[in-house]
């Protein structure tokens, strides 16, 4: 049992290899970076070709671009308020970069760059630095009253202020770990169930092929679920960014 279990190489799919041959090796251009460039290029190309015709009745690609634009625009205005229009390009870029990253990771032989905490952590730090900078710019030093809920008894200050500061600092941590854990767990589950199929065939021969249909069906269902998760996590990342920006603009 223990010997079989150790043959599941669940985390091997996340290993970074250098892409683009010798040039990539010399500048440390990994397959993760290649996928990031591909994702960014896909978003830009879809928007460019979608908005080139500017038809009154949109075609498929134009409808895609318009729906994406409308979706993020509504989200910004709804969550942040009228000031949200200023942050719309940032949230738009963030959402589509993560969404395309999640989605192209679902294709075989493609690398999921959002399954690396270095990537999601960098995005989350970017968000929190932006939020803090916006809050400091709009409110100045008054921003620090954010850590003090109004009307609380002064006696509780030594307790409340550290808790508020910790909860503020833990935001980028939970933001990055949520996305990375979702992606990693999903891909590990694919790997585990696919390995179950190989194990069944290896252990039972012809009868194993019949039993292997079980993990295969589960993997197909998981693929559908992962497409949902890819959208959902990109949406959650963008919505939480909007909520933090709302806090920064309005304080509480």
């Amino acid at each position: 049992m223990a010997a079989e279990k150790s043959t599941i190489d669940a985390l091997g799919q996340f290993h970074l290899d250098t892409g683009l041959g010798a040039i990539g090796r010399s500048v440390n251009f990994a397959n993760s970076n290649v996928m990031m460039v591909v994702a960014a290029a896909l978003v830009l190309l879809a928007l460019h070709y979608g908005m080139r015709r500017r038809a009154v009745v949109p075609g498929r690609l134009q409808a895609l671009a318009e729906i994406g634009y409308q979706f993020i625009h509504d989200m910004c205005v709804e969550q942040i308020g009228e000031e949200g229009k200023r942050f719309f390009p940032f949230v738009f870029a963030l959402f589509f970069f993560i969404l395309i990253g999640n989605l192209i990771g679902l294709f075989p032989y493609f690398f999921t760059f959002t399954s690396h905490i270095a990537v999601t952590g960098a995005l989350a730090v970017l968000v929190i630095v932006l939020v803090t900078a916006v809050a400091l710019r709009i409110h100045g030093l008054h921003f620090f009253s954010y850590f003090w809920p109004e009307g609380a008894p002064v006696v509780l200050a030594p307790l409340i202020v550290p808790i508020e500061i910790i909860s503020y600092i833990s935001r980028p941590v939970s933001l990055s770990i949520r996305l990375f854990a979702n992606m990693t767990a999903g891909h590990v589950m694919f790997e585990v169930f696919a390995t179950f199929m190989l194990m069944l065939v290896g252990a039972l021969g012809a009868f194993g092929y019949v039993l292997a249909l079980g993990p295969l069906v589960i993997n197909v269902a998981l693929m559908g679920f992962e497409v949902l998760v890819a959208f959902l996590q990109a949406y959650v990342f963008a919505v939480l960014t909007c909520i933090y920006l709302h806090d920064a603009v309005h304080l509480h």
């Binding site: 223990a2 599941i8 669940a10 985390l11 939970s174 770990i177 949520r178 854990a181 979702n182 990693t184 767990a185 590990v188 959902l232 996590q233 949406y235 959650v236 919505v239």
Partner: protein, 74 residues
């Protein structure tokens, strides 16, 4: 007890957190059903909130799963 079995038991213990997540997700969707039954016209707004809550709760389950994977595979 050798290290391999201790790892297996530890991974099993790590996913006990899923009990709380199951209760949480059930709670979210039971509230969703109740609120839609009371006010069907609010369905679109409430559904988005429920999905957001579901994703946030599910993340806790994945934290537990990550712990289990870390124990098992590293």
């Amino acid at each position: 007890m050798d290290l391999a079995s201790a790892k297996m038991i530890g991974a099993g213990l790590a996913v006990i957190a899923l009990a709380g997540v199951g209760a949480g997700i059930g709670n979210i969707f039971s509230s969703l059903v109740t609120s839609i039954a009371r006010n069907p016209s609010a369905r679109n707004q409430v559904f988005g909130l429920a999905i957001l809550g579901f994703a946030l709760t599910e993340a806790v389950a994945l934290f537990a799963l990550m712990m289990a994977f870390l124990i098992l595979f590293t």
